[in-house]
């Protein structure tokens, strides 16, 4: 089990629990193409589980990735994080392949692979992020619905190891959203 720091916002979706969230050994969406979603670019604002406001700045990079700079704000703000991500659309679903790079200016020792994050923008301009539910992913792997590995122990990390074609076919199905937990947080575009 890989323990990582408690951080905020999108980084929190990668870190809030004691275990690292389910990962994929290949990014989701390589067969369809990984392009930075222009709708994400700019500045978003939300409130984290501590009640502290935070900002997310999404910046497109020349290599086709997005950098997300996430900063707590207000009194007693402590943390800032940098996440690198690719984005793709499979069927009706928008995915981010995220990887936590830094916390407070220090490199994170994240495990290999990327964390698939399902994101949705609604008509009110709200953006929500959902992580894969660990128990649901482990059950899917155990049932042979998708190829993957699960570390020993109740808190063992789950990794989906399916090849890119199988992975994308699986993540294109409408039912795959059942593998994702409720949105971890919601942000609004401010700039």
């Amino acid at each position: 089990m890989t323990r990582i720091k408690y951080v905020l916002a999108l980084a929190a979706t990668l870190a809030l629990t004691a275990c690292y969230p389910p990962t994929t050994s290949h990014p989701v969406g390589t067969t369809a193409g990984l392009k930075p979603d222009p709708a994400l670019q700019g500045t978003w604002k939300g409130v984290n589980s501590d009640g502290k406001p935070f900002y997310m700045h999404f910046l497109p990079q020349s290599d086709g990735t997005l950098s997300a700079v996430i900063v707590e704000s207000g009194p007693k703000a402590e943390d800032w994080n940098v996440v690198t991500a690719t984005t793709t659309t499979l069927g009706a679903n928008h995915y981010m392949n995220a990887r936590l790079l830094w916390t407070n200016g220090k490199p994170e020792n994240a495990p290999a692979g990327t964390v698939p994050v399902l994101y949705r923008m609604d008509a009110r301009g709200q953006l929500t992020f959902s992580l894969m539910d660990e128990a649901a992913v482990k059950a899917a792997i155990a049932a042979g619905k998708i190829k993957g590995t699960v570390e020993k122990g109740e808190l063992g990390d789950a990794t989906i190891t399916a090849d890119v074609k199988t992975l994308d076919a699986y993540f294109s199905t409408p039912g795959v959203t059942k593998l994702f937990a409720s949105p971890m947080f919601t942000v609004r575009k401010v700039d």
């Binding site: 910046l59 700079v69 900063v71 703000a77 800032w80 940098v82 700039d191």
Partner: protein
């Protein structure tokens, strides 16, 4: 002396020839205490044609502050981000910060001296933060008048004579000068920010 990149807005306002070099940061004679009034998010721009940037100030436990800055896309300039380290000190009635650039778009500052500190005078009123930088002409006049030890080095750039101004006084003498009530006269407005 070019300063920064990532905070295109803020640091453009502090950049280029108008920057006065100092031998030591301001406040070394009494030490630094983080000013909680700076904590949080500030917004501001250096030019009317620039979008406002975000400047997130976080207080660290070691009497330093980290600024995480974000400059939105502007014309042909891509969106960018970076980090600064600040220390703050109050000398007499005046509040100062030492600014040091520490990161740019995920890497070290490009082509800059990360050890370089830029002293700024600042004022906060009604959720507005006003930054002032040492004015090279005013400091040059103070050096010529013997008010502070320093050097004035003329050079010609494309036929135009410019003066590079540096304060060479040690920290104690610099602090003594900047403690005076009239010390703000050595500074010029650099940037306005708001909550």
């Amino acid at each position: 002396m070019k300063l920064a990149a990532f905070l295109a807005a803020a640091l453009a306002a502090l950049s280029l020839s108008a920057c006065v070099a100092v031998k030591e940061p301001v406040g070394t004679s009494i030490g630094y205490v983080n000013d909680p009034a700076l904590e949080g998010t500030w917004r501001g721009k250096s030019g009317e044609d620039k979008p406002e940037g975000y400047y997130h100030v976080l207080l660290n436990d070691d009497a330093t502050m980290t600024v995480v800055g974000y400059a939105p896309k502007s014309g042909d300039d891509k969106a960018s981000w970076g980090t600064l380290t600040l220390t703050t000190v109050q000398l007499g009635p005046n509040r100062y910060m030492n600014v040091r650039e520490t990161g740019e778009n995920g890497g070290p500052p490009q082509g800059k001296d990360t050890a370089q500190n830029v002293p700024l005078l600042y004022r906060i009123a009604d959720d507005r933060l006003s930054l002032f930088m040492l004015d090279d002409k005013k400091v040059a006049a103070a050096i010529r008048a013997g008010r502070i030890q320093g050097t004035i080095t003329p050079s010609k750039v494309m036929g135009v004579t410019i003066e590079s101004v540096a304060i060479t006084a040690d920290g104690a003498h610099l602090d003594a000068l900047l403690k005076r009530a009239d010390a703000p006269e050595l500074f010029s407005p650099a940037m306005e920010m708001h909550r």
